[in-house]
């Protein structure tokens, strides 16, 4: 267990150090998410009520597109100079490699989403109040499972030629439960419902998070060994 924790921590610190130095993921994925939200807001110039109804969809499209880009870039680093081979050969338990990478990517995605959320609120005239904070909670829950599942498939993409294509084609259908539950729960909350009233959707998101994290921990080693 000590080796697992130490390995996860070492890989997470490496992720943060590389990102602080290059700012590659934050800039590319963040700008992409921003572009999606701004262009969408310009395309739908509507009254306040309709804008409020569009906001959840735009937020989740921006966050999920930025997320897939972040996951792809995070694993592209492992491909360069074949660093992943060095990691896999090290004595660190292989699920710890997955977990370190997943937590690192989750942090990047959370920072991007923390910027996207208020921008979507301003562009779509969503009040900056407790309802928006509730949407933030839903976004955190949804993106956790999304990143956990995406990290596993992004890792597999290191070993395939159609990398980005495979990630996008496989990831979105597999994470549709989290994306659908997240969008619907956000829509309900912005429509006036409390978090308690969206409990069924939050349960789906939590269950998906658990399944995604456990799947990643269990499947990473066999998927990377062949």
């Amino acid at each position: 267990m000590r080796r697992f924790t130490a390995g996860t921590w070492a890989i997470l610190l490496k992720e943060l150090r590389v990102e602080v130095r290059t700012k590659e993921i934050m800039v590319t994925a963040g700008l992409f998410g921003l572009l999606v939200t701004v262009l969408t807001s310009l395309a739908f110039f509507l009254d306040d009520a309709t804008a409020l109804r569009l906001a959840p969809g735009v937020l989740w499209v921006g966050a999920s597109f930025a997320g897939v880009l972040a996951m792809g870039r995070a694993w592209a680093r492992e491909r360069e100079a074949d660093a992943i081979r060095g990691l896999l050969l090290s004595p660190v338990p292989r699920p710890a490699i997955y977990l370190g990478k997943a937590i690192g990517t989750w942090i990047f995605v959370m920072v991007i989403d923390a910027v996207l959320l208020p921008i979507v609120a301003v562009l779509f005239r969503v009040p900056l109040d407790a309802q928006l904070a509730s949407v933030g909670v839903i976004l955190v829950l949804g993106m956790t499972g999304y990143v956990a599942m995406g990290t596993l498939f992004a890792a597999m993409s290191v070993r395939t030629r159609a990398r980005d294509l495979m990630l996008s084609v496989v990831l979105f259908p597999l994470t549709s439960p989290a994306l659908v539950a997240g969008v619907v729960a956000s829509r309900e909350v912005l429509g006036g419902a409390s978090l308690d009233e969206t409990l069924e959707w939050l349960r789906i998101l939590t269950a998906f998070d658990l399944v995604a994290v456990v799947s990643g921990l269990v499947l990473f080693e066999p998927l990377m060994s062949d």
Binding site: A6, R77, A81, G86, L89, S90, S225
Partner: protein, 214 residues
């Protein structure tokens, strides 16, 4: 984990419709350099990846010494690999890369180990710059440090001389000789006949996944 030989028996590896290895038997001993030869696609890298725990065989056994352990973290801690690619992070400096691997290998005295490697492989001030800016020779020195910092019992070399100049090849030869003298089991894949001639104690030839006469 300590062992003084590695044996493979009836090793088969199948990728879809392609049979990369077909019933390979071989033995690799400590204090000897075994050169694995063969044309492209003969299964050399697959064999090396199986020895290095990076790929699981479809059938057959790999035996590391007398212990009945064929997988796991302790075993990987006894294996080092050096290839054409440096297996490092180009956005980190040489010192940061070595520090990362010292953490991953849980070295008890990482600072001393890194200082020794810096001295042994002449990693100068350039070691503080991002590895992306290094020459091929500097990258090789970093890769040697990464591969050897934990004093591996089994050292796997996958075409390590590709793209190196004369000095780089000499450094590689000196390093392999010193690892052999230390007691390591060295397995070398190379297309360079001169390098093979200089270093080989034993030779294994592969062709289309099978061991053939060298």
């Amino acid at each position: 984990m300590e062992f003084d030989r590695v044996e493979v028996q009836g090793l088969v590896k199948v990728y879809g419709a392609t049979r990369a290895l077909i019933g390979v038997d071989a033995s690799f001993a400590a204090k000897r350099v075994t050169v694995v030869e063969g044309p492209n696609g003969s299964g050399k890298s697959t064999l090396l990846n199986i020895l290095g725990q990076l790929v699981r065989p479809t059938r057959g056994k790999v035996r590391y010494g007398d212990e009945n352990v064929d997988r796991g973290s302790d075993l990987r801690a006894a294996i080092g690999i050096l290839a054409h690619a440096a297996m490092i992070y180009p956005d980190l400096s040489a010192l940061e890369n070595l520090a990362l691997y010292a953490q991953l290998y849980e070295l008890t005295k990482p600072a001393e180990a890194i200082a020794e490697l810096v001295d042994r492989f002449e990693i100068g001030r350039w070691g503080e710059r991002p590895a992306r800016t290094y020459s091929r020779g500097q990258l090789q020195r970093l890769a040697l440090g990464r591969a050897l910092m934990h004093r591996p019992q089994l050292l796997l070399l996958d075409e390590p001389s590709t793209g190196l100049d004369v000095r780089g090849v000499e450094r590689l030869v000196t390093t392999v000789e010193s690892e052999r003298a230390r007691g390591a089991i060295v397995v070398l894949i190379t297309h360079d006949p001169k390098l093979a001639e200089r270093l080989a104690d034993d030779r294994i030839a592969l062709d289309r996944g099978k061991v053939v006469s060298p």
